[in-house]
Each structure stands twice: as C-alpha cells, then as structure tokens.
C-alpha cells in the first residue's frame, strides 16, 4: 500500500535561514510526487511536482525538491525562508489518474 512519512511534525526556523522538510514514501513503482502548502483556513496550493526526468525540481516561491529513488525520499528545500512561508506543508504520492496519499504534514514556524 502507498504511504508517505513526514518525520517532523513541527519545525521552527529563523527568517533568512535555510529549510529542509523531509518526506519518505512507500510505493510499488515510481510514483508522481508532490509538495503542497496549506495556510490557516485555506485549501492546498501546489508548490511543485515530480513526474519523471530531472530529479531536482523547481517550484513556486523559491522552493525546490530532490527525488532520490535509492532513499525513497522527496525532500523539500528553500535556501532562505521568509516569514510568509509559515504554514503547513504536505508531501503526497499518487499516479496520473488515482488518488493522492498524503503525509501527516509538517507545520513550519518562522521566527523574526
């Protein structure tokens, strides 16, 4: 069965610091991988996605993620965090036509 693990429930960083959010998945083949962000009271916004090809993908708002097949990981990174990045981040795995399976999310707090 598909599953996604986000080991960090809550991360706190200082504004301007770098950020890495971890995501590990379990899937029978190479899945489609996604990172979504959710601000309080809002729906999910897609940050970036990996379907195939270059394993380093660029997304919106300066985020990037790297797919590592050997580690079954798809970690999200940002070199310099802004206060507006405070939100909850969800990693998800899916296919072209099926449901997304989400991790439990990582809540990001940004200190001034």
């Amino acid at each position: 069965a598909q599953s996604v693990t986000q080991p960090d429930i809550h991360i706190t960083v200082s504004e301007g610091a770098s950020l890495e959010l971890r995501c590990n998945y379990s899937y029978g083949a190479t899945p489609y991988l996604f990172w979504y962000v959710q601000s309080p009271g809002q729906g999910l916004q897609l940050l970036l996605k990996y379907f195939s090809g270059d394993t380093l993908v660029q997304g919106i708002k300066g985020f990037e993620a790297e797919f590592k097949r050997s580690q079954s990981s798809f970690n999200l990174r940002k070199p310099s965090v802004h206060w507006s990045d405070a939100a909850e981040y969800f990693c998800a795995v899916g296919t072209r036509s099926e449901k997304l399976v989400f991790g439990k999310g990582t809540k990001l707090t940004v200190n001034p």
Partner: protein, 112 residues
Amino acid sequence: EAGVAQSPRYKIIEKRQSVAFWCNPISGHATLYWYQQILGQGPKLLIQFQNNGVVDDSQLPKDRFSAERLKGVDSTLKIQPAKLEDSAVYLCASSRNNGEQFFGPGTRLTVL
C-alpha cells in the same frame, strides 16, 4: 481560469443532523475528488469520480456518507446523520487526469 469552488465555507451542526457540501470543479476537468482532512492529519480520499462515474469510494463510510456528480460537473457530498468524529475540513479537488490536482478552499464542518 477560475479555481475549484466550494460552499459553504463553514458549517456548524449538531450530531445526528444532516449536512451537504457543494463543489464546482475547474471547467474541463473530468476527475473530481472529495477528501476529508481531520485536524492534525493529511487529507484522506473519500471518493473519486471520473465524469459522473465512481472510480474509488473504498474509504467512504457508506452508512452515512453519500456523494453524487450529476452531469459530470458539479458534485454534492452529504452526511446523514453526522457524528462528532465527522468534524473536519472537506476538500474538493479536480484534475484533467494528468496527475495534477487542484484543490478548493474547503468546507470546515464542526459537529457539536
């Protein structure tokens, strides 16, 4: 293009009452999903439609939840009767079946 629309945004009911949520997907998107997001967790699929047919409803509590997508466009999700544990955000998403899902703002349901 307009995003996924959902209404109402908030709903408070007492247990054993019924409630209905509405979703209008992005124009041209054949696939529509309903997800349930309980506080502190990632979204979990309730039901997936392809046009007006059900693709996956394996996680839908069919004794109390029902959903329909008449004419393959708008969809309604109903809960009857509601239980306390149904308190959650109900997210609708749509897709062109290319792996990328677009989410609406969600309906926050509180069952008292």
